[in-house]
């Protein structure tokens, strides 16, 4: 029946796995993150059990496995549903952005709904499930399927009264699936204390994945855990995952490590005077930069300058705004002479505004990962990162941020995080949590003295870079942020504000800038 199988495929399962200790062949799922944590995908040619409670995303994960198999790996798939009708499945697929009808028409996918209602059947004597075997076998052969989903086969237990028989037949089914060399996902619904109601895990011994959805601090969080993966290393950690209109994405907990390439090229901060503080060049490409300060110290302005400089080079900048809408940011920045709208129109700048509380922390980070992966910006701005702390504990946030930073470093994306520190307290203390993850840390402040408030900026650290150690004064002009020339008193201390005016003294490279009115500086 299956003699003419497409043997051209290079990725073929080893002929006999047995105890030969051959490396386990894997079938990539194509689901972002899942292949990473499984080191390449699901065991090829074998069934994998995906279990979890109602509504945990089993069906959607299984469906994506088939769709991506068909689209990305040239592996057609059979979806045998014991619960949802093909119409329901098509509808569900649409919510993930998959066109199941088209795939079916192209014979890359076959949807089969198995209906077994005990009330409609009379049992009169001994039977077996050979009909199911033939049905599935024919479906597999007719589209040369390499992947199969059985969702959820446990419903056979409620459709038939002879449990012992169903049990024996399931054992036979899983053995038979292996001989068909299909990579299968079998779903099972668990309840308190059990992975699946009828112990499917006894049959599927190669790989077991548990999904879970729980509500933490008012926001629903989905998690995925690989309980078992025979012959393959796997992290036993719970990984957050997300289901949205792009499908499933898993966010690996494990850090990507510190093996990323470091860059020696620079990117401008967008502020001439600030570039000068970093040895005239700006940040290193791929650096993570933290700009922290109390409210109203100009963090967003520093971010906007950076965005403008990025777009000015023709590079993409992705701006995550957790406090303001895109139009609000554009309006505010126009007041200091930064016009971001043209960049938005040219699609070099995308502002992604969302209240942090709209999603759980993991969901946020997964969504951010995906936006970055999809659009491939060179610069990412998170304004402010502290709003994420509001939705998770500090250690959690730090772990997730570390992953996000590693992820961006790996792609040589320069990231700027702003951080709002509480007024009155030493900013350096409150930022300790995240600052250790950053390559560059700038502190913005308002110095209050002699009846005036003056803006200051200083570089607390800048890894691998010569940088200024001075606390510099800056002003917000109609042309943006201008650093003011350093002015020292005779005792060597730096004079700022009016004191500077009285003390004006030129230092090489800096020109005094009149307040509120500066000359135009190139973006």
């Amino acid at each position: 029946m299956f003699m003419t199988a497409g043997v051209r495929r290079p990725k073929r399962a080893p002929k006999r796995v047995g105890n030969g200790r051959r490396p386990l062949a894997k079938a990539p799922t194509g689901i972002p993150g899942l292949d990473e944590i499984t080191n390449g995908g699901l065991p090829r040619g074998r069934p994998t059990l995906v279990c979890g409670g109602a509504g945990c995303g089993k069906t959607l994960l299984a469906m994506e496995f088939l769709v991506r198999g068909a689209l990305e790996f040239n592996e057609p798939g059979v979806f045998m549903s014991f619960e949802e009708t093909p119409d329901d499945l098509v509808e569900n697929g649409r919510s993930l952005g998959f066109d199941l009808q088209r795939l079916s028409a192209r014979r890359r996918l076959l949807l089969d709904h198995v209906r077994l209602e005990r009330a409609e059947l009379t049992e009169a004597g001994e039977y077996d499930l050979e009909g199911l075997f033939i049905r599935l076998g024919h479906a597999i052969d007719s589209i040369r399927a390499k992947r199969v989903v059985l969702d959820t086969i446990e419903l056979l237990f409620s459709g038939l009264s002879d449990r012992a028989l169903v049990r024996a037949e399931l054992g036979r089914l899983f053995r038979w699936l292996k001989t068909k060399r299909v990579t299968a996902i079998v779903t099972g619904e668990g309840d308190a204390g059990h992975l699946t109601r009828h112990g499917l895990e006894e049959y599927v011994s190669d790989c077991v994945i548990l999904l879970d959805q729980r509500v933490m601090e008012q926001s629903a969080t989905r998690r995925l855990r690989i309980i078992k993966y025979r012959g393959s290393a796997h992290g036993g950690n719970e990984m957050p995952f997300l289901i949205d209109d792009h499908g499933v994405s898993v966010l690996p907990i494990t850090s990507l490590g510190l093996a990323h390439q470091v860059s020696t090229s620079h990117v401008s901060t967008g502020v001439v005077g600030l570039d000068a503080m970093f040895g005239k060049k700006g940040y290193y490409r791929g650096n993570s930069v933290l700009a922290s300060g109390t409210a109203g110290t100009g963090k967003s302005s520093v971010a906007a300058h950076f965005a403008q400089a990025t777009c000015g080079r023709g590079e993409r900048c992705l701006y995550f705004a957790f406090e303001e809408s895109a139009s609000q940011i554009a309006r505010n920045m126009r007041s200091i002479g930064i016009d971001l709208e043209p960049w938005m129109r040219r699609d070099l700048l995308r502002v992604h505004s969302q209240r942090p509380t709209a999603l759980g922390l993991e969901a946020h980070l997964v969504a951010m990962h995906r936006l970055i992966e999809d659009w491939k910006p060179r610069v990412v701005i998170v304004d402010p990162v502290t709003n994420m702390i509001a939705i998770g504990s500090e250690t959690e946030v730090k772990a997730m941020l570390a992953r996000l930073i590693d992820f961006m470093k790996l792609r040589q994306i320069t990231a700027l995080f702003t951080s709002l520190t509480e007024g009155g307290r030493a900013a350096e203390r409150t930022d300790l949590g995240v600052s250790s993850l950053m390559d560059v840390w700038m502190l913005l402040g308002n110095q209050e003295a002699n009846g005036e408030r003056n803006r200051t900026i200083q570089i607390v650290k800048a890894r691998g870079m010569a940088h200024s150690n001075q606390v510099r004064e800056f002003v917000m002009t109609a042309d943006g942020i201008k650093l003011v020339a350093v002015s020292r008193r005779s005792d060597g201390s730096v004079a700022i504000g009016s004191a500077r005016g009285a003390q004006q003294q030129k230092t090489p490279g800096d020109k005094p800038v009149p307040r509120r009115r500066g000359r135009r500086q190139g973006a």
Partner: protein, 100 residues
Amino acid sequence: MKNGARRTWRLRLYVAGQTPKSIAALANLKRLCEEHLAGRYRIEIVDLVKQPQLARRDEIVVIPTLVRQLPPPIRKIIGDLSNQQKVLLGLDVLPGEPEA
């Protein structure tokens, strides 16, 4: 109609090759029909090994499956039909139903 005209029973038995259960089912079915529906039945045998595409079309999971095509409504009986009482119940045939 109800009592007058002879009702013809059209039965379809799905099997998968010559397995003991399939053979038993056919034997049991023939015997039952001769006893209760003599002259008023037709049996069609569908071997899914030969026509696998019919399993999906006719929604067959279990083997053997007996489907009552006529009279309506369609009814399904699974098993080797060794339990005659249940088969009669499932087919909605009164035991020893006399000729109308």
